[in-house]
Symmetry: C2
Subunit: 345 residues, 2 copies
DNA sequence: GACTCACCCCAAAGCGCTTTGGATGCGGTT
DNA sequence: AACCGCATCCAAAGCGCTTTGGGGTGAGTC
């Protein structure tokens, strides 16, 4: 069933039918109703391709997921982020176009998507400290929103980010308040912007008390469970092991907890963990007393925010860039406790 | 830069340029080269919408992710599945269209995607035991591949699945061989097809030895860490607690392990776990001795398979339905050991 | 009754591409 | 020299929609 068929069926011109369905005022309410009903009963759906060819709008948002050839790792956070974004897209009539692309092909992909005409806007994931993509996208000239920020980039861009520095500042303060001094930071990859901000918050808290962080207690890698396990094992094997861990992902924190368990220490008594918690649907850190003390910030919410901002920019190009800084809440769970005095002290 | 511009630039007709770029034989090799080079240097990319309007092919595959309103849970397995599928799509020039849709809107979504013209084929996720979607899609008439199967469906359809029954049969046999008799099954949602097959394999192994499973030791829910924790806690609190757990997801298994740890039991000695392992990139169960004994089957591989099959069906409609049954491998890890004799025996 | 003015509606062009059905020119045959 | 066949190329139609620029009709006005 296409527009023409429907119009013939109704003894109307395609013009009128199109206008009726798209809510233009040049058509009487009676006709509009008649058209709407006919469209409904005959299951007419406008061909998206034809429409977007005619309007110049793709009604689609692209998500480009870079897949580093080294790690081949899909960020688990991604699932919930697109769930949030997808919700908004669906509500606004947009499609989501997902492209998973090796790091080295990214530039071409962005350019193609643009000239292709297959999307109206882009969502950029996993920004690094110095993010060339922003420059590229500004040059290409397509609306986009970055999930996260790029500290070393001084060009303007729209973003949605969590207040990483502040969250980790608070988390560190908590551990320091509990008496911990040997605190290990188990972070994400060192060139990721969020990881750098988190480390900054960590160091800020130490500095504010005139204390120093120990570089030997800082590690950064892809945030897998295995990495958390390995890093924690290594830290705990040091002569002067940490009494607390600050971890960047709840998945990594599970690995840290495993290592702690293997060492025979008790979590929340002998050793503390504070982790960031993206509030993933399959890994919820909830309950009367959540298993982890955590800085929580829903990544699904971030997805919703980003999608809304992006659509707004697409539909309203004059409005300018928009940003949103989401705050994390500090959740007290079972994984923290005051530092135990060692026998020597 | 559009086709017409390029053709004027080259003093050729749009026809010839189109043919040259698309590899039609009606154009001389010299011209083809000239056109290709010009296209390259001027960064010409055909407009996907216009092309697909003309050809009738969308060059896009749709993935529809049902989001149950009850659970609002994104399956973490999904991340790696689409990573695999996306790889294949990219290589074959297809786009991936992702739609996240509440359960109740699914039917309309499928119909729309079809009549919309925005996709050439569909990937169906998370089939349940009795899957109405298959009937619907057969009726709609669009190529699709199901990730998983629907046991209660006797219509023909293409699928890619893991051999769930066999995997869990083997896993159960292993535990039985180790002397375990009280084995708990911590499964996925009871109406999911894979969960039913896994339970079947579980029961099959018992039956083959003339043993009975205990319904009080079977639980099924969304496979979150929390569920694993709660289910295991409840089982361990029973008067005659299980000495082994068979778990459907490594994430759930982490919860089970947590519960075991809390009870003061030692994993691999006092209690055993065998889990299914989808080989998620961020939760790898590897190393000299992996942390979990597991039935491993890469869901990313499954994604690749499914994508290949689907594209094949799209480009080659006459070829008929295709299926692929992937076998899991049994990995021995640290989480299993022989059943300890209790003092009473 | 002629005129204006809304109000509804339509024909046709156009979005950027593919594809059908020729047209053209050239070397080779007879 | 006329003819044929082949290799190259092109004009124009068409994919399904939106949108521009009218055109007809009836009520209201003088």
């Amino acid at each position: 069933m296409k527009l023409k068929d429907l119009s013939e069926l109704l003894n109307l011109s395609p013009t009128t039918v199109s206008r009726a369905l798209n809510g233009y005022p040049e058509v009487s309410e009676a006709t509009r109703r008649r058209v709407r009903e006919a469209a409904e009963t005959h299951g007419y759906r406008p061909n998206v391709r034809a429409r977007s060819l005619a309007t110049g709008r793709a009604m689609a948002i692209g998500h480009v997921i870079p897949l580093s050839s080294k790690h081949e790792m899909m960020n688990p956070v991604f699932t919930d982020f697109i769930a949030g974004a997808g919700e908004v897209y669906a509500a606004q009539g947009y499609d989501m176009l997902l492209t998973i692309v090796p790091d080295e092909l990214q530039e071409q992909t962005y350019r193609d998507l643009r000239t292709n005409g297959s999307i109206d806007g882009l969502l950029v994931h996993s920004p690094k400290l110095a993010e060339q993509r922003i420059h590229l996208l500004n040059e290409i000239g397509i609306p986009y929103v970055v999930h996260g920020r790029a500290s070393d980039c001084n060009e303007p861009y729209a973003w949605v980010d969590m207040n990483n520095t502040h969250a980790f500042r608070r988390a560190t303060d908590l551990l320091l308040d509990l008496g911990h001094r040997r605190i290990a930071l188990v972070n994400g990859l060192a060139d990721m912007d969020f990881a750098i901000r988190r480390q900054a918050g960590f160091e800020e808290a130490f500095a504010a008390r005139g204390l120093d962080t120990d570089p030997a207690l800082i590690a950064g890698e892809e945030m897998t469970e295995m990495f958390g396990h390995e890093a924690a094992r290594a830290f705990l094997a040091q002569p002067d092991p940490p009494t607390a861990f600050l971890v960047s992902s709840i998945i990594t924190a599970l690995g840290v907890r495993r290592a702690i368990g293997e060492t025979g220490l008790r979590l929340g008594r002998d050793v503390s963990i504070v982790t960031h918690d993206d509030d993933l649907s399959y890994l919820q850190n909830r309950g009367d007393v959540p298993m982890f003390t955590a800085t929580r910030s829903s990544v699904r919410d971030a997805g919703r925010h980003a999608a809304r901002i992006l659509i707004d920019m697409v539909e309203n190009p004059a409005a300018g860039l928009r940003q949103a800084l989401l705050e994390a809440e500090l959740i007290l769970g079972q994984s923290t406790g005051p530092r135990l005095q060692s026998a020597a002290e």
